[in-house]
Symmetry: C2
Subunit: 305 residues, 2 copies
Amino acid sequence: MIPYSIGLDLGGTNLRAAAVSHEGKMLDKVSGRTQYSEGREAIVHDMVEAIETLRSRLGVEHLEGIGIGVPGFIDLKKGIIRNCNNIASLENFPIREEIGRRLGTTVILENDANAAALGEKWIGAGRHVQDLVMLTLGTGVGGGIISGGRALRGGHGMAGELGHITVVPYGNPCGCGNQGCVEKHASATSVTAQARMLGLGDENITAKDVYELAKAGNPKAQAIFNGMGEALGILLAMLINAFDFPLYLIAGGMIAGWDAFAPAMIAEAKRRSFTFRTEDTVVSKAELGNEAGLYGAAYLPFCEK
Amino acid sequence: MIPYSIGLDLGGTNLRAAAVSHEGKMLDKVSGRTQYSEGREAIVHDMVEAIETLRSRLGVEHLEGIGIGVPGFIDLKKGIIRNCNNIASLENFPIREEIGRRLGTTVILENDANAAALGEKWIGAGRHVQDLVMLTLGTGVGGGIISGGRALRGGHGMAGELGHITVVPYGNPCGCGNQGCVEKHASATSVTAQARMLGLGDENITAKDVYELAKAGNPKAQAIFNGMGEALGILLAMLINAFDFPLYLIAGGMIAGWDAFAPAMIAEAKRRSFTFRTEDTVVSKAELGNEAGLYGAAYLPFCEK
């Protein structure tokens, strides 16, 4: 037997847990059975059961620690989820203490976007650097910042809220109260909303449909992806000018449309960042897909020591 | 005698050096006599002489180290100034090695904007925090980022290039190749350029003149300062969303116009940052004026240990 950690990812629609070795090799994996709509007790029970299953299979004596990635803002001092994007029943609940009590051990919490960035840093596209920024383009735009090998959390656990950075000052309105947030110009949701606005389809149109139209030469669909690239380029230039990190990763379902938005993204970032034009700064795709958060959660007991 | 360090600030038009105690008390201070236009050898000689003067007055046995703040990008590994805003003769010169050789000791280099932010962190408006961002509004807009009590330098010494972050995507053109950089919308130069554009004065008009017009009720001058506030608010919201640091300091000569631009700045930042609206994040004036860089340079031997 070898030393391992357990990572649990609460993202998406169901929970997943994995036992991972110190070298980043996945040793075992389980999925939860609970729907998040079933409420707090069912979710917590399922989380504990998933971890216990792995722990009993791999041996408690070699377990280095347990990390959990959760969607939302975390109060790290108190170990509670302050704001949970899609599991309201976990808000303001002392989840770290409760899971720790039931398992008889300590657990480490992390925001899921930070966990995904940590996973890429550990064994993914960021494995050769200590500093990176990751943007996850899905229904929204998430951000994770790794500085000196660890997640940058900020004073309130709210660092890396990159999806709500303004890139078009008088752009599309956002539910956060702002307008022109990057997530209203570069997410799957923004692509389909614009497609409907331009008459490219009805409420069933997907980002993949718009991508295929763009690749087939439809100028409206191409304009949508160019606009997405420009919005991302403005954001990347801003991040490069502020951080001067060596690596910026683009992750999430929308990277399937990379060739439709990346040329405009790179051109715009070059235009708007002297550093990007002159230095060996890299913008590239993430590698781990939706396993990134699971690996990142498992990495927490190793990197937070 | 007490332990002290020596800080040297190459900013502005002449060099200054100070001996500072570990507690941040200025013990002694000298100014250089050389004009930067006199060339490299004269500047280096003057730097060494200023430091030697202080060292001989305060005693070599209590000197903890020497820090130098320089205007430009620094290659920290090599100890050279890569790009020097107003002292071209120092570019690509191994200044750290040369000064160290002549003084018979090691010196620490830092970008002047980072040094100023470090000074505020040490004994100025940031003395109660470990993380802050400082914006210096002068003829341009400079930035310094302190993370975990130290300057964030980035992979190429170019972190904190905040003056060239895009805040108005199709705004005023900038010498850096971009347009809409915050420094083209929120510096003294941008204020006077806009004032001339609006017929408020000729080439001799100063930012102070425009400020006084605004305070006297001139709507064009007020619009200029409101626009400056909005540009800064967009930048602050970006920084708060990315870093979630507790403190953002505004420094430089333009803070004399604080009451003319700050209301729009704060309103815009609140509108564009959920974190700023809901958390105890502070935006305030820096306290040390043009001594900040001198203190920050002197802090380097203490904080880089």
